[in-house]
Symmetry: C2
Subunit: 204 residues, 2 copies
Amino acid sequence: MGRTSDAREKLLNAALDLIWTSSYGGVSVDDICARADVNKGSFYHFFPSKSDLAVAAYEAHWQSTQPGLNQIFSPDTDPLDRLHQCCARLYDAQKMKFAEYGFVVGCPYANAGSELATQDPKIRAKAQEMRDRWMDYLERTIRDAVALGLAEVVDPRSAAQQVYSCFLGTLLQSKILNDPDILLQLEPAIFRLLRANVPTAVAA
Amino acid sequence: MGRTSDAREKLLNAALDLIWTSSYGGVSVDDICARADVNKGSFYHFFPSKSDLAVAAYEAHWQSTQPGLNQIFSPDTDPLDRLHQCCARLYDAQKMKFAEYGFVVGCPYANAGSELATQDPKIRAKAQEMRDRWMDYLERTIRDAVALGLAEVVDPRSAAQQVYSCFLGTLLQSKILNDPDILLQLEPAIFRLLRANVPTAVAA
DNA sequence: CGCTTAGTTTACCGATCGGTCAAGTTGACC
DNA sequence: GGTCAACTTGACCGATCGGTAAACTAAGCG
């Protein structure tokens, strides 16, 4: 009943793009509506507020990237190779964004958390949810690596937290220097943290 | 000639406080003036724009913290103890801010870089300058540690970059979770990165 | 003392902010 | 084909945004 619309999806995409490449505070509702080619009234038909849209946009982005993550972090893959693939894809993705926009844009969830953790509880909670999801992938991978004797860590959960910190920090440093090649230091850092040997031959 | 004033310093302090605990975009010039108890006209007498004030506030903050950093990173101190002291003070500082505001506020320069690197060249450059200054402390410390046989790294500059990523990432993760105790994982991560043994007895 | 210059005050600017509203339009479903 | 709910439209809101201007005041200095 009633008519259908893709305005909601267009708003989600526009919001993610604009906020990711600039910042939450630097993008207005009017900007998002203009990019999505949607009237402001429609915006508030679908979302009660700007921050609700942002939260929904992050969730939609996660849903769209999750299949890829499930593939990278498949239990059938060698644990260290999962981490290698993850770093490689992260580098490629950031390099593509850099080529497109001229800027290293970093991690959208981390950007949001950094900007709004002290100001908007819903966005802080969403950023935390995203980190928890990442942490699950990392912890499982580290547990598998330890079980196979490929890594040595005391506590896999703590190790996952340290590895995740490396992700966040390297991405942020790369954004601050506006240099994607900073990300090349991510994989060696992670392998050192896990006391894992760099795989001599990595699947191309 | 002409009258003197402390309005400039009051503006610098107010801006740093407000922006640090919320965000650049979340704080208005009026907010800063109100906190500093300075009229808006005076604001623009001292600073050409809001972002110029922010840059000046970060520089002033650096100048005020540099003596402490010089002490922590004194060449006379054992290199690993420098890192330990640094982590300990960072934890204490964030814990104090957390007790005061109810939030983990993170690193002011990193926050600024994360929010504005793609939007404001002057602020991105300032964030980069701050990271370069930190990198110098870290690289020197790592070189000293290697020279004393306390650490094993291939390239001190790259290692410093990895360690700095751990700082940034752990602070950011701590902010996103709003939990200062996340920072307790920072020191072990750094020592693992440097293949350094945790000092058995650390000066209290 | 008086001049000069630095700093203060306050009212004001146009633009934009996030958000609202009521009237209109359309399509899915019976 | 009618109906009703879903969606669209565009004008509108008060508040706030970063920034300006000009008259005013006071302190350092000769």
